[in-house]
């Protein structure tokens, strides 16, 4: 281990002398502990293979901000246009609210535009009218869409009131395909380790379909329905684990102590359909963005390791690109490699 840590030290020292924007150190988690540490020097702004990044911030608002910055940089660096849309998968719930607020702020400041972004939401309740205050359509409208410049026809949310639910799900898969697949799928994690509504026991290669909600989920959602369990929908349409796995990159937001056990199960234990987020251990490019509280069930060793990498991982959000200054930034970065 000392051999590995000293070579890591070396690597990090070397990293400091290299142009900050162009390199990032990636580690392969499955090699820990004891085994060889697979380290690769990669370009941060190109597709990176075989990487899992665990980003740990101090608190909810910092985690939300980091995630928003990451999404912002990804969109801007992708340079979307009328022939090349950035497809973004989006979650609902309380976890992403802070991230949405920051993204809205970036739009309002003129630093980010959603004009050439296409969105695909993960899920929607079955049986709730679209304009019900707790439907995911309402959530996305009130917390995101109404504040930004996204075109209505570029947003896609499953219709939980469709006459033929499975046909609706199949059509959704086709829409994702037609849009060229998902560039970045942002999701959360349930207390039972589920991604979207892929409840424990869901197939890890599942596609968009109708799911019956687990009791854990219904209990967690009751607070949005006046605490009345009878009012909470029992079924939902959801993208499958396989659907999200198809995305070129996945970002999972995990904040709060109540998600800590699920995070532990998702990344420190094996791939298991009872904790469906664990499937992303086998995704080529995943980012887990957490706050301190969410790491409470992880090994101290794991947390220290990834916290140590924050210096490197922060290069992904610093410099922070803006559509205002994008041209200036680009030319400056080639002339002046050192930002400090």
């Amino acid at each position: 281990m000392t051999h590995i840590s000293s070579s890591l030290q070396e690597l990090r020292q070397r990293e400091h002398t290299l142009p900050p924007h162009s390199l990032a150190v990636q580690e392969n988690l499955s090699s820990l502990p004891g085994g060889e540490c697979g380290v690769e020097l990669q370009r941060a702004d190109t597709v990176v293979k075989d990487t899992m990044k665990l980003i740990i911030l101090d608190n909810y608002s910092q985690a939300s901000e980091w995630a928003a910055k990451y999404i912002r940089n990804r969109i801007i660096q992708f340079n979307p246009g009328p022939d090349k849309y950035f497809t973004l998968g989006l979650p609902t719930g309380s976890t992403p609210l802070g991230c949405y607020k920051k993204l809205i702020e970036y739009y309002k400041n003129g630093d980010l535009s959603f004009k050439y972004v296409k969105t695909f939401n993960m899920d929607e309740y079955v049986g709730l009218p679209r304009d019900h205050p707790e439907s995911y359509h309402s959530f996305m409208w009130n917390n995101f869409f109404k504040h930004i410049d996204i075109q209505p026809e570029n947003t896609h949310i499953l219709d939980g009131t469709a006459a033929d639910l499975q046909a609706e799900c199949d059509a959704f898969e086709e829409k994702i395909k037609a849009a060229g697949g998902t560039e970045l799928f942002v999701g959360g994690i349930g207390p039972d380790g589920h991604i979207a509504f892929n409840e424990p026991g869901s197939s890890l290669v599942s596609r968009t379909r109708v799911k019956t909600l687990a009791m854990d989920t219904i209990l967690a959602n009751a607070r949005f329905f006046d605490g009345d369990l009878a009012k909470v929908p029992t079924m939902a349409l959801t993208v499958g684990v396989g659907t999200v796995m198809d995305a070129r990159e996945v970002m999972i937001l995990i904040t709060g102590a109540h998600k800590a056990f699920a995070l532990y199960k998702a990344i420190e234990e094996g791939v298991n359909h009872m904790w469906t987020v664990s499937a992303f251990q086998q995704h080529p490019r995943t980012v887990f963005v957490c706050d301190e509280d969410a790491t409470l069930e992880l090994k101290v060793k794991t947390v220290k390791y990834f916290k140590g990498l924050m210096l490197v991982h922060n290069k992904l959000v610093d410099p922070l690109y803006s559509i205002k200054e994008k041209e200036i930034e680009k030319s400056q970065s080639s002339k002046k490699p050192y930002s400090d």
Binding site: R130, D131, H137, S138, W141, N142, F145, K146, Q151, P152, E153, T155, I157
Partner: protein
């Protein structure tokens, strides 16, 4: 026209950078308008997949439903109770001038007058939608002549009436018909008043109690027969007494029909009601308070002598008296002044003050689905106010119909 298909092709206007009064709260939301109505932007986004055609920045102002004045006797030299040759022009003049006060709908009020005046004037004041020409006419408010002699206030004694045996027919004959009539103020202690109240209520006309010496019991019976409003609370009625609260007691009466709310007009000009009395009423029954101007023709004219009904009035500053007496003769405070004074005197929330001038009068008249509210589907009649509740602009059916000088380009 506000038909479905025509409306769907109309441009969508999004009023941004504002706070709107909705659901009793000032929300940091945009107001969307199409085809003269308030539009649901979420529905537009998800169902029609459309965005706004035009955005208008409101500079951080408050957008409130347009004010509704259910008691206004005239203004700018126009006297609704005078059988002039061209009543229509007079109404139109007032309708246009009150736009600057934030009023988008009103009930022209006729005080106690001789039969000839009713017969001549009433047919010339039809219900009319508002627009760039002026505020909408919701119907006429007939204040009298079936009122108490003792509490006639500024009304001419010679033309007071009581009900004959066939009371409702007597009333019809007096007014010459009830087309265009929206509110009738009468004194319930008059004989046969109950059958009149019932008939009027059945016709959808709002019955208001006022200019009366009724005790609480009589007033409660009148409400049970259908009365829903009190004309300028405290004025022209018996004062509150702890063993017989009179009409004022209706505010906290437990003998009103279930589910019925009593509304009461208040002239919050700082003169007609002592602020302490205003506060007592407001605290006792905040949801029933309706701000009215009870404005006289002298509104907007300045100091001097002017005509009201069959009498002369003297204007001095913000006060108008029956010439040569100390009897108040209606107010000359514009509606927005009343709203500001009400806010300051009661210390209530901005939302409450605005609702007292918009939502409550709409509820009184059963119009709350389309007037007095910024809910989806309602008529887009609204007023743009700064933080001190001064009117910056007035809109009717989503169209700008008045704008303050400084705001004009």
């Amino acid at each position: 026209m506000r038909g479905g298909q025509v409306a769907a092709r109309a441009p969508v206007i999004q009023f941004t950078n504002c706070r709107i009064l909705r659901g009793g709260a000032l929300l940091r939301e945009d107001l969307w308008v199409r085809g003269g109505r308030i539009l649901d932007p979420e529905k537009l986004f998800f169902e029609e997949r459309r965005v706004a055609d035009e955005q208008r920045d409101c500079g951080g102002c408050i957008l409130a439903p347009g004010f509704i004045d259910v008691q206004i006797n005239g203004g700018f030299g126009v006297d609704f109770s005078q059988a002039s040759e061209d009543v229509g022009s007079g109404v139109a003049l007032v309708a246009r001038r009150i736009l600057s006060h934030g009023v988008t709908s009103f009930c022209p009020t006729l005080v106690t007058s001789p039969l000839e005046v009713y017969h001549k004037v009433l047919p010339q004041i039809p219900v009319k939608s508002g627009g760039p020409h002026g505020a909408g006419v919701l119907g006429v408010h007939l204040e009298g002549p079936f009122i108490s002699r003792e509490k006639r206030g500024a009304h001419p004694e010679a033309h007071l009436r009581s009900f004959e045996a066939d009371a409702f027919q007597d009333m019809l004959a007096t007014y010459g018909g009830l087309d265009n009539v929206r509110i009738v103020t009468l004194a319930p202690e008059l004989g046969h008043s109950h059958e009149v109240i019932r008939e009027l209520t059945a016709l959808g006309i709002c019955v208001s109690l006022g200019h009366s010496v009724a005790d609480l019991g009589t007033a409660e019976e009148a409400v049970q027969s259908g009365a829903t409003f009190i004309t300028h609370l405290f004025n022209a009625m018996l004062p509150f007494h702890h063993r017989d609260p009179g009409i004022v007691g209706l505010l906290t009466s437990d003998r009103l029909p279930a589910g019925r709310r009593i509304f009461y007009g208040m002239i919050a000009d700082g003169i007609h009601t002592n602020p302490a009395a205003l506060r007592i009423a407001h605290r006792a029954h905040p949801k029933g308070l309706v701000l009215v101007t009870d404005a006289v023709p002298a509104l907007g004219l300045g100091n001097g002598r002017h005509t009201l009904g069959q009498q002369e009035v003297e204007v001095d500053g913000l006060t108008a008296y029956v010439a040569g007496t100390n009897t108040l003769s209606g107010s000359i405070a514009p509606m927005d002044t009343c709203v500001r004074h009400f806010l300051q005197a009661t210390g209530c929330s901005v939302e409450s003050a605005l609702e007292a001038a918009s939502l409550h009068p709409a509820q009184l008249l059963g119009l709350e689905k389309c007037k007095g509210t910024l809910d989806f589907g309602a008529d887009a009649d609204f007023v743009v106010l700064d933080d001190s509740l001064h009117v910056r602009a007035t809109y009717i059916s989503g169209e700008l119909v008045w704008q303050a000088e400084e705001a004009r380009p």
